[in-house]
Symmetry: C2
Subunit: 512 residues, 2 copies
């Protein structure tokens, strides 16, 4: 099968003319260096204690009767009329004991298994934008054609380890059943793990069921070897919504990966100070993490963080700021305080795939990497503060993620690498181009970019003087042309389609 796919892929490339886009091979990315510490151990402890103060005294609004009951049974102080819970530090500590430090996520292709935790970094496609943009077709509302193209791009590029939840909202489809269409696209157009929607129990369960079908497993088997994840966004400050709680509990019940992510924009949904925002984030994350363990002890769960700031003149959200970059690192310190895997995000508020989009994203990406993020969510394609999935930005981001991957490869120092013989063979003022040491290594010595242009000015001008954003259009078009759909057993496909058809009928699709 692999040989056939390879040949088919080669033929297709030949048919399209030109070599495939250079890219790094599929591999597990590890950060071999210690995480950066912006907070002292005392500061980590002060934030931890402040968050316990919040949990014990201010409490959380938990807008779900079943969740309130679970907290009450565990010994929390529950106010049913206000729907708030207060958690004491003993309860929190007890629940954290069962949260795993690391786990794996498996998709229908065993080679795609992801490790979550430790020093491993995984990168995901942007999730959730209502809009889509590329240079040729302009800005438009999310739709299924774009959805399919964007997940195909995520399949094509090895550095994207996982899909987020809905790379764009396909608004021409019924809102209450479009998750079935997007899950089916995820499972047939890619063989990578993906995130499901946790807006309600049904959407989560559909995703779990469909992943189980694709892998030929029972729900029990999938619970022991999870394949999907979800992001539980907190309605910060200190509120968990009804539907999100339903999704959280469904995912936990079936042993799938849950990531609790407070959205703490400093100055708006959290204090204007980083320490205050981190304390709030920590309290909110811990509350959700505790709930996963109350539902199912041992449930795989991540500490999610999304602390950035707003523009205080306008209230507009900002990403990739110095404050956001610091928060990405400091939040990793908090996650490790509890020995939990850590989810973080590089973002940008830019309206274009331009220099701003690039420096904001790369600032936050360095924060994510230095902070030892295990899941770098929205790693490719995020534009306009998450309101648009951009094709060109996707390519720029893939290039930056690959830069980081190569940066993280350790330096080797041995006799071959020290090259003293080559140094002796080249005269002063000479060059190394023709040296055997060079010729033996040059083909693989350096990272080969997919977007960067290193021509001189004259050659670049001759070739059209295209900037990186313009060139990115050609790259994603070529990637779509070269994309190879991963094979799927016909019986499995039919079973998935039957599931979707049955569920569509059960739900009773709304008008879009």
């Amino acid at each position: 099968m692999t040989a056939l796919r390879t040949r088919r892929s080669a033929e297709r490339t030949h048919a399209k003319g030109g070599a495939p886009i250079p890219q790094l091979p599929a591999r597990r990315v590890e950060n071999p260096y210690p995480p950066m510490a912006l907070l002292s151990p005392d500061q980590v402890e002060a934030i931890h204690l402040a968050s316990l103060h919040i949990l014990e005294n201010l409490g959380m609004e938990v807008m779900n009767r079943r969740a309130l009951a679970l907290f009450e049974r565990a010994g929390a102080d529950v106010d049913h009329s206000a729907m708030t819970v207060r958690l004491d530090r003993g309860l929190v500590a007890e629940a954290l004991k069962t949260a795993p430090a690391a786990y794996t996520l498996s998709s229908r292709n065993p080679a795609r298994q992801m490790a979550i935790g430790g020093n491993v970094i995984n990168f995901t496609l942007v999730a959730g934008p209502p809009n889509v943009h590329d240079r040729e077709r302009g800005r438009r509302a999310g739709n299924m054609r774009d959805y399919r193209e964007l997940v195909s791009l995520a399949q094509h590029f090895n550095c994207i380890h996982m899909l987020g939840n809905q790379v764009c909202a396909p608004i021409e489809l019924a809102a209450n059943t479009r998750h079935l269409d997007t899950y089916l696209a995820n499972l047939t157009l890619t063989d990578k793990p993906f995130h499901v929607s946790a807006i309600g129990r049904g959407r989560a369960l559909d995703g779990i069921n469909m992943m189980a079908i694709a892998r030929g497993l029972s729900l029990e088997e999938v619970a022991a070897d999870p394949g999907v994840g979800t992001i539980i966004s907190v309605n910060s400050p200190r509120r968990f919504d009804e539907m999100m709680l339903e999704g959280l509990m469904a995912m936990a019940e079936y042993g799938q990966s849950v990531c609790i992510t407070p959205f703490t924009l400093m100055g708006a949904m959290s204090p204007v100070t980083l320490a205050g925002a981190l304390a709030q984030q920590n309290a909110e994350a811990l509350c959700g993490i505790v709930l996963t363990q109350l539902v199912r002890p041992g449930c795989p769960v991540m500490y999610g963080a999304f602390t950035s700031n707003v523009d205080m003149r306008s209230g507009a959200p900002a990403f990739g700021t110095p404050e956001n970059t610091k928060a990405n690192i400091a939040s990793g310190q908090m996650a490790r305080r509890y020995n939990l895997p850590y989810r973080t995000t590089p973002g940008s508020a830019s309206n274009a795939a331009d220099a701003q989009g690039t420096y904001e994203t790369l600032m936050a990406l360095w924060g994510a990497v230095l902070g030892h993020g295990n899941l770098v969510y929205h790693a490719a394609g995020w534009q306009e503060g998450g309101l648009t999935a951009s094709f060109e930005k996707f390519i720029i981001d893939v290039e930056m993620v690959q830069h980081i991957m190569e940066f993280l490869r350790p330096i080797v120092v041995d006799d071959g690498e020290l090259a003293l013989d080559a140094l002796a063979g080249v005269p002063t003022g000479g060059h190394f181009f023709g040296e055997p040491h060079t010729l033996e290594r040059y083909a693989t010595a350096f990272y080969q970019p997919l977007l960067s242009n290193w021509q001189n000015y004259e050659a670049w001008t001759e070739a059209g003087a295209m900037d990186a954003t313009q060139r990115a259009t050609g790259v994603w078009k070529k990637a779509l042309a070269d994309y190879v759909q991963p094979p799927m057993d016909e019986g499995v496909r039919e079973e998935l389609e039957a599931y979707v058809a049955r569920r569509r009928q059960e739900i009773g699709a709304d008008e879009p």
Copy 2:
């Protein structure tokens, strides 16, 4: 004087209409976090030993009789006919003893004094490009009008601590005297320290003399309190040119700051491997550093590094690559091995002020910062691998440097910052906009960018849908309009002009 300047500046701003461009105040930038270590201590030692092997066995070509004599007197093995020196480890260790770990550079404005060494980071304007570019006037050969504009921009922005040597070559002026014109522009249009040309003894001495005049000091006084620096580029592999050695020795003789910078493009001027390139770089840097101490023990000297790679398909130089980023960090480890201040560089090969120019520069800039660079040379305006000084790229780079400066400000965790009262005052799902805690802090809580646009898509479109590069044009034009020339005593100016006139006559200007 300050009040007058402030008023004049305010009037000018008023005249130009609109508030000044937001920017960070002038300040010393310190990196409070430990440097990143990509090399283990054993690897650092292996590279150190390999470089000693190079110095002891392969030797260096030193194309200058006086330098050869200095090495010989110090006990080096000198081959006068081949003009090569071999330095044993004892000689190197002895010379390194007198090289200072830290020093200061002072300009005519005492407030601009720079600390070189320790955790302090300084950023300089791009140096040396033959060409200039901006979006309105296109690409053109370097000239004095652009020179004046670019150094005025460096004066205007506080994050630029120092000028490099010749932000562009003013080719309409005679080649053998244009250094006098550029030094005069540096000294009258700015009050920041600057780099002189070390192509020969005369250019270096002119810079030192003119800095002394501007500060009202004798050459002896300036030697005790240096005010100019220079970059000694090595003609890698293993060759120091005649003129560079003259410049090096003149600077050292007068106690000014010397930075020895091998230019080790892996695969071309050095081995294709990072360890080999670092060993070569280290040997070359040590050779030049030793010479400064033979000329004048205690001479302020920096360990310079510029290791990047070439495109192995074309031989074209590349910058801001993963390999370059690693080299920027590892080279800092080598500099600290000898307790020397460290010069590094963020670069890009992009032909435009675009996404590529941005990610390449920011990759290398993170390397420079994590590697604890003390002098980040070419920090703003570098384009086309250093062949062009770009006005728009200058603004993008200033924005990125400011992001880094803000990132490096430590997180404060205390009762005020933890904001537990504010957290108690905001209901669940509410917002913090109106909280006293927010109102007291919002004006200064977050970094305010000078280029980033955080409008929503509709407002941004309404305002012309300009990307960051387009907006950068407006920023540098506004900065030039707002630029205030620092005052200079009329007598000092006359003395400088007389010096230039006299030297021009002595040298006998060539045709340009």
